[in-house]
């Protein structure tokens, strides 16, 4: 490729101007729409702001103190951990199993992969609404016919099972995404290694444990982090599925923050919970990355 020689004001100064022009849009948009609201959120977390008026009083750490005594809020905090933990585990186990199954030379494997990925493309709100109906009628009818007691009644209306149902639907929606990443990892495995293992008589679970799994460790790391972060940030799906109910049995912290901010007009308190959720996500992400990357290194 040939480029026209520049006649512009010589080299360096011209470059600097162009660099600046190319960089500024990104910097400005990020500062205005990401950084500024976050800083404001942190500041408001120390106030009694209602989200509407400009009339704001600083109340120091009172929101933070309230948080750790507020039973209405501690339950969603606990739920968020339970939800994120189980979604991360179950979705990864299911996705890995599906990836292993669909990595075999089935004639229909491309079709099956395509079908299992479909829910990933759908909006989480619609998935939540769809399943909320399925749990109220078809599942209950099915439970009756199969004689499974828990399923005979609407599982979303039962305090003991509502969050579990939410975990189930989240895995249903997300498993295709995680599976695709595992499949990419599996395809990178050298066929020679697999064949050598087969010749040496390493089979079944042994082969998975010592050959396959160590080689897909990078996909494992990224999937754990991606699923967990997604679970901590989930809102739409649970909002549509149970709305946090019955009571606050399946309420996640994100829903509580939304309610406090826009239904009860305690935006300051909502921001406080946002800060706490952010801290949890930051600590867990860094911790996971450190631990899992170290594991990968050891395996190598």
């Amino acid at each position: 490729m040939r480029y026209k020689k520049r006649k512009s004001i010589s080299g360096f100064a011209g470059d600097t101007i162009q660099y600046t022009v190319m960089f500024l849009p990104m910097l400005i948009l990020f500062l205005v729409f990401s950084t500024y609201p976050v800083i404001e959120g942190v500041i408001y977390s120390f106030t009694d702001w209602d989200g509407l008026n400009s009339n704001v009083n600083f109340i120091g750490l009172r929101n933070y103190k309230t948080f750790f005594h507020d039973f209405v809020v501690l339950k969603p905090l606990w739920n968020t951990f339970v939800y994120a933990f189980w979604v991360t585990i179950i979705q990864n186990v299911c996705a890995l199993a599906l990836a292993l199954a669909l990595n075999q030379k089935f004639r229909t494997r491309n079709l099956l992969r395509t079908l299992i990925f479909i829910p990933v493309v759908l909006s989480a709100l619609i998935v939540g609404y769809l399943w909320s109906y399925i749990f109220t009628e078809p599942m209950a009818i099915l439970g009756g016919r199969l004689g499974i007691d828990v399923m005979k009644y609407n599982m979303l209306g039962n305090k003991a099972t509502a969050l579990g149902a939410g975990i189930f639907v989240s895995v249903w929606k997300g498993v295709g995404y995680t599976m695709v990443i595992y499949l990419a990892g599996l395809q990178n495995i050298n066929q020679e290694i697999q064949d050598a293992a087969l010749v040496d008589g390493v089979k079944g679970f042994q082969r998975f444990r010592y050959i396959t799994f160590p080689l897909i460790a990078p996909s494992f790391t990224i999937n754990i982090v991606l699923v967990m972060e997604g679970a901590f940030k989930q809102f739409d799906l649970i909002f549509a599925l149970t709305g946090g109910g019955p009571g606050n049995a399946s309420e996640l912290l994100s829903l509580t923050i939304y309610r406090e901010s826009f239904e009860y007009y305690r935006a300051g308190y909502g921001a406080t919970m946002g800060v706490i959720l952010a801290l949890i996500i930051i600590v867990l992400s860094l911790f996971e990355l450190l631990v899992l990357r170290k594991r990968e290194d050891n395996i190598e």
């Binding site: 480029y3 190319m22 099956l112 909006s123 990419a184 959720l277």
Partner: protein, 275 residues
């Protein structure tokens, strides 16, 4: 047949059976969407005896489908286009410049990945009100760009770093300006990362619910996902209409998915493994 073949065939049949169970919700949705209201209420699980095209017509009208579809389309396409243009250039500058401060801003940008939107829920709404972007389609597009920069920077940087340095050096020798260097040399090499970014951001913005719920308040600005929230209370328990409208609103993205299925799956896998 050898035992191995039999085992494989059994495995395949099991997977097909599993996939059918997995897709059960779609079966429910489709049989409801073609039933008469009476049938939907009285006999929910039975196989439909008629095909009520009127359900789709009603759902189309009640959700103002052409308008909500075009709103969603405009918002998604504009935002994703701007994200690619703005972040691609910006990340390139962070990579090429000798200015240490600008280079180190990379960490400032990707730190944004870990901050959940819920931390800035009310302040974001307040900001949009203050600058007159409330209930405005161009406004929501511009703010989407600002909010999606961290992930785009993260993806772009991974790939820009892998572009061989000699390529850039020889361009400098030729007297190539930074602007031309980016669009002439780097941009064509970034096709793969751009398709990954376009796929992920399109799915996220097209299906987004919470942010449009807070920002787009009048009916004529609603998106496909947002309108389902409103429609659900309007349609009450007319499940045949509700499911018909779900199917309608899923269709555009599903069609794109089936058309570009291979690229989409590869793009997602590539993005995750590189990251």
């Amino acid at each position: 047949m050898s035992p191995q073949k039999i085992r494989r065939a059994t495995g395949e049949l099991l997977m097909i059976a599993f996939t059918c169970v997995f897709l059960f919700p779609f079966y429910i949705m489709i049989i409801f969407a073609v039933k008469t209201p009476a049938q939907a209420l009285m006999d929910p699980l039975s196989f439909p005896t008629s095909f009520e095209i009127t359900n789709f017509v009603k759902a189309w009208q009640m959700t103002d489908f052409p308008r909500t579809l075009s709103n969603t389309f405009i918002i998604t396409v504009t935002s994703v286009f701007l994200i690619v243009v703005v972040t691609g250039m910006g990340t390139f500058v962070m990579h090429r410049t000798r200015n240490r401060f600008v280079r180190s801003l990379y960490y400032f940008f990707i730190a944004g990945l870990m901050i959940p939107f819920y931390l800035s829920l009310s302040p974001s709404v307040k900001l949009m009100k203050d600058i007159g972007f409330m209930d405005s389609i161009p406004g929501i597009c511009i703010s989407y760009v600002g909010r999606n920069i961290p992930f785009a920077v993260f993806l772009f940087m991974g790939f820009i770093r892998s572009v061989p340095g000699e390529l850039a050096e020889s361009a400098v020798m030729d007297g190539c300006s930074p602007y031309r260097m980016y669009w002439g040399i780097y941009f064509p090499l970034l096709k793969h990362v751009i398709s990954t970014l376009v796929i992920l951001d399109t799915m996220a913005i097209w299906n987004d619910f919470l942010y449009p719920l807070l920002i787009l308040q009048t009916k004529r600005h609603q998106t496909l996902t947002l309108v389902q929230y409103v429609f659900r209370s309007e349609a009450n328990t007319q499940w045949n209409l509700i499911f018909a409208s779900y199917l309608l609103s899923m269709m555009p993205l599903l069609l794109v998915y089936f058309a570009l299925q291979k690229n989409i799956v590869e793009g997602i896998a590539a993005g995750a493994v590189k990251g």
